[in-house]
Symmetry: C2
Subunit: 436 residues, 2 copies
């Protein structure tokens, strides 16, 4: 039986899961592969901390070169995260002719093209199923199974922390900051939660998925990103009253050769398949011209779920190595030569329905003024709630619009916010009304 030697860089939560999988399910791996995979070296800054898994003495090292320079190691599993030195290590591994399995979405979102082109040149594989949506096989589904399709849209719940916070806010009527604190205490949110709650992590993953769906590089700065930190219990309450649920969605759509790429809190009709994806679960709903809608859901993070995806990639690398077919499928689904830059549609041109909330002085004529300004910008009102709920002397007015152009909405809101009767900056949340 052929033996492939692998090195693991990064021995945190996911790394520990990978070591556990190598141990516990070694027999399954060998029966499926017809080859053995030996974890020859684990590199970590801290090799003293107990992780609750058994590691043979001599396996651990703090010296990354003990992996990168070891010609016996054919496969590098990068689970350290971050841009540097992960980028340098991965490029060096590729240059040494090693395959790479990584879960590093941040790195791929910003340096994917450099890494994938280096891999192409070296004839090695770079697999990254674990970078998006944990155990859910969305990368492979797009790259292999659905690859005949012209994709129309992709919606994703891609960040477990945000989904956990929004789910609890929805269930408990609690405020963002309160739930965040509790999520941090329970380990569902980082001490510095910015990457998660501000939508950056979701955008990293969206960037990776866009590239796979459409064969275009994505200038990360062109993705519109809005997190969940400004969502209030009040907005969630109103959403419910209108029959909606708020989710942080990654959205991409293709129309006329342009791509919409945006991450923002989104109101979905109760009953939309994504509204049932709660807590730390992730889901992706993708629509192809032949496949129709396909939805994949499961655990998007965590030690074991992410290890499942990493090990799937490890086994694919080994299959390719053993049959001499490394690089058989291009890492981005499209061959390097076929990658061409598609323009991102400016956010100002995006068309959506909107939830608008104004805090106004409760006095006659206010609604007429607001409606007038919206009407001037061709923004139609679909429904309205003006509840008898007073916060001090201001009262919320909530409108749902028909489809409108983002620039018009922003322009109207600026004009409305300048009215004397408006007590605080208006809030808006986009509504995704259609399924596709």
């Amino acid at each position: 039986m052929k033996r492939i030697k692998a090195g693991l860089i990064g021995f945190g939560t996911v790394g520990t899961g990978v070591v556990k999988a190598f141990e516990r399910n070694r027999e399954i791996l060998e029966q499926r592969l017809g080859a053995a995979v030996e974890l020859k070296r684990i590199v970590s800054r801290d090799i003293e901390r107990p992780r609750g898994v058994e590691v043979a003495p001599g396996l651990l090292s703090t010296d990354v070169q003990s992996i990168l320079r070891d010609p016996e190691i054919e496969l590098v599993i990068e689970l350290m995260g971050g841009y540097e030195p992960a980028r340098t290590y991965i490029l060096e591994a590729i240059a040494q002719g090693k395959d790479v399995v990584t879960a590093n979405k941040a790195l791929l979102a910003l340096h994917g093209p450099e890494i994938f082109e280096a891999a192409k040149k070296a004839g090695v594989d770079v697999f990254y199923e674990a970078a998006v949506a944990g155990a859910i096989p969305v990368i492979t589904a797009i790259r292999e199974n659905l690859c005949i399709n012209r994709f129309q849209s992709l919606f994703g719940i891609l960040n477990g922390t945000c989904n956990y916070i929004l789910t609890r806010m929805t269930d408990e009527g609690a405020d963002f900051s309160e739930v965040l604190k509790d999520a941090q205490a329970q380990g569902y949110a980082e001490a510095d939660p910015t990457f998660d709650v501000e939508g950056i992590d979701t955008a990293h993953k969206l960037s990776v998925l866009i590239s796979l769906c459409f064969g275009t590089p994505v200038d990360f700065d062109r993705i519109y990103i809005e997190g969940i930190s400004r969502i209030t219990a009040l907005d969630i309450q109103f959403a419910k009253e209108f029959g909606y649920k708020i989710k942080l969605l990654a959205i991409c759509k293709e129309e006329g050769g342009r791509i919409e790429a945006r991450v923002h809190p989104t109101m979905l009709t109760q009953g939309h398949p994504l509204t049932d994806v709660d807590g730390v679960f992730n889901a992706v709903r993708i629509v192809g011209d032949f496949s129709g809608p396909i939805m994949l859901s499961g655990r998007g993070a965590g030690m074991d779920a992410t290890a499942s995806a990493v090990m799937g990639d490890v086994m694919s690398c080994v299959r390719n190595r053993v049959t001499g077919s490394s690089g058989r499928a291009p890492a981005r689904g499209y061959r390097c030569e076929a990658i061409r830059s598609l323009p991102i549609k400016p956010m100002d041109e995006v068309v959506s329905q909107y939830y608008l909330r104004f805090m106004v002085n409760d006095r006659p004529g206010v609604l007429a003024k607001i409606a007038g300004i919206l009407g001037d910008r061709r923004i139609g009102i679909a429904s309205m709630i003006q509840p008898e709920r007073h916060q001090e002397d201001s009262v919320p007015v909530v409108l749902l619009t028909h489809e409108a152009v983002e620039a018009d909405v922003r322009c109207a809101l600026a004009a409305i916010d300048a009215l004397e009767v408006i007590r605080e900056p208006s809030r808006f949340i986009r509504i995704e009304a259609s399924l596709d």
Copy 2:
């Protein structure tokens, strides 16, 4: 650019979808593959009937040997269905060194081992993503992405006809035969619907999935199969009252080296992720020890959705051919040498909760008699409805049990049915209470 020539056997609905995909998305295929695929020959019994797709003159033939004996054709797409002559054609294609893509679950369920072993020997690929759940990439997910996992359970809604009928029965309170007739008129059910409504098609697909999950051949006759034709509007109504929905599920579970393999109408708690899968949609929920629960859903049948899966397989075959790695992943996920027969747990030993419905004479002491017989067989009652609804002089008594052993339940029901007060054979439906 390398050109691979393919032959299509069977030009029905799915075949037409495949021809359409070759035409419409040829550019995507070539950009992703870096190779071209030419449909060189289409064989069908009826080459006159217009299909609404354009086919170059000379492409059509009634002679299957014009594909099987053409050395230029490296890839055969079998979409004729049925056991014979499909089996013979596939074996001959394999013997000629051609790859095979098929959607033929009936054939694979009964003759899979023969076909896969022939493919192994010939060093060619046999792919069959389209055989189970249409466009949903469940085969690849199990074979490649989730393959490190020890699977605990798999639940599937795998037959669109049954799910469509049950959904309409649930929504409309209509009876089976009535909805079936309408489904036939609308093309959602075959003129002879036996394979679908009696659960046989679902069991074929379950057989394929069990083999992939556990590396065991499945003796098709050992799968317990019960269709939906005996489900009544009354049972659906009671299910609702208890907070359940009835779905035809394919179920497999592994415990202690034995496999549960069963297809039957199943009551699921409203809110279970599979209860939202309605109409012709299919879904699979699979639980692995590392991945946790993964759910995949989408269109399980139809021209375009099935063509999407077929084309994904075609492109995988081509990738392997171009890189000389045909057979890189074993067709069943486990290598032929690692396949070993796991015993199927006899249905009598299966443990489940049950919905029981008795039609009784409305007279004192009846319930005591029923409860006594159930108690004698260690079957605990979890809840009960005895509504004030009279059908002639009989009245339904409905019980939900705690977990009980199938043999005990059948034995108790036989004893109860022998009571003089029982007006018609008792009905039972299994309840899947846990998610995993």
